[in-house]
Assembly symmetry: C2
DNA sequence: ATTTATGATACTTTCGAAAGTTTGGCAATC
DNA sequence: GATTGCCAAACTTTCGAAAGTATCATAAAT
């Protein structure tokens, strides 16, 4: 494989904020930092809260069904990789993504959904780090059920609060652990 | 000049939403549409309103000074191109951009500032179309002064309202003119 | 007559090599 | 001894051509 396709791929990573590029200095993995994480989580909560609010206003029974079904599938899957608990269970990750998408997908703004997706991609690098720290300390399933329940009951403030603390918690774990970094 | 650098440039246009790419079908100018414009303007108002609010809370006297000075420069420049009134005055555009950046630059979120920039880039294609329609029908200077004044007086609701209607107006012109499109 | 294959053309993507940059070490100079 | 200039090695970017795909028109078959 030659440089051209690698370069194209790299350009896409830059576009989603996963890598950085500097002319004549090539590409680098985008650095991780506490301030960036805080910015990321704050922005993400803001964006998704709005999208969730709008979805709760707009969503129909098909939307509700999608949330329930993706939650159901998620709950039958172990979060940790059965082979190696410090690794991602890629299947769980994929379903997790589906669940969170189902919540906000009726917000009515393609732009916002796209932005939420890139924010999620950026966040995943931090989540990957947090996974090990959270083992046994957190019940993701409960958090998800709480969000889904509030959303379907059209209780927007409660749903948003649950979603926000769900996102904030991961950041909390990391920021406390790497406080000096 | 060969294909590689053109391709890299195209990839960046895709990243900012100005072009689209499909594998083996190359690149295209991203289509313009009424729904996209509505989404864009709504999102933009939401993002910049938040950023303006935060800047009003955080900004110091240097922030105020930057707003005043960029507004001042903007007001001495004609909006239309002196040679050809249906064309952009690139100098005015550049300063206009500076002014709007000055308003929100103290929001404290790099991510949001970056997003606002790409939203502005996308919006500019529509603004370019609207320019001709607005000649003589609009006093941009007044609108800018109103926003700046409210911001510096730390009157967030008034500033946000002024900014929102400033952005909404351009879309209004276009949507009314091309209602069938 | 309509549908399905075939092939030529134009276009997109990828390749391997050439050209251009940065970096770090070594020598010459102040 | 510290600073500056120069060279070589490694890397990034660009190039022109080759390989791979889509498209459209023409011909064959149902």
């Amino acid at each position: 494989m030659s440089v051209s396709p690698v370069r194209e791929a790299l350009a896409r990573l830059v576009a989603t904020g996963l890598a950085t590029a500097e002319h004549n200095l090539g590409y680098r993995v985008a650095p991780l930092s506490a301030p960036d994480l805080e910015d990321l989580v704050g922005t993400r909560i803001r964006e998704e809260s709005w999208a969730l609010q709008r979805s709760i206003e707009n969503g129909d029974e098909i939307w509700e069904g999608q949330i329930l079904s993706s939650l159901h599938v998620l709950e039958r899957l172990p979060r940790e990789n059965p082979q190696e608990p410090t690794l991602y269970n890629e299947q769980w990750e994929s379903r997790h993504c589906d669940f969170h998408n189902a919540l906000i997908c009726e917000c009515g703004s393609k732009l916002t959904l796209g932005y939420c997706e890139t924010l999620r991609d950026q966040n995943d690098r931090y989540r990957r780090l947090a996974l090990v720290l959270e083992i046994g300390k957190r019940n993701a399933a409960n958090e998800h059920r709480e969000i889904a329940e509030a959303a379907i009951q059209r209780d927007a403030p409660r749903a948003i609060e649950a979603l926000a603390s769900h996102y904030a918690m991961t950041a909390q774990f990391l920021l406390e652990t790497y406080a000096d970094d």
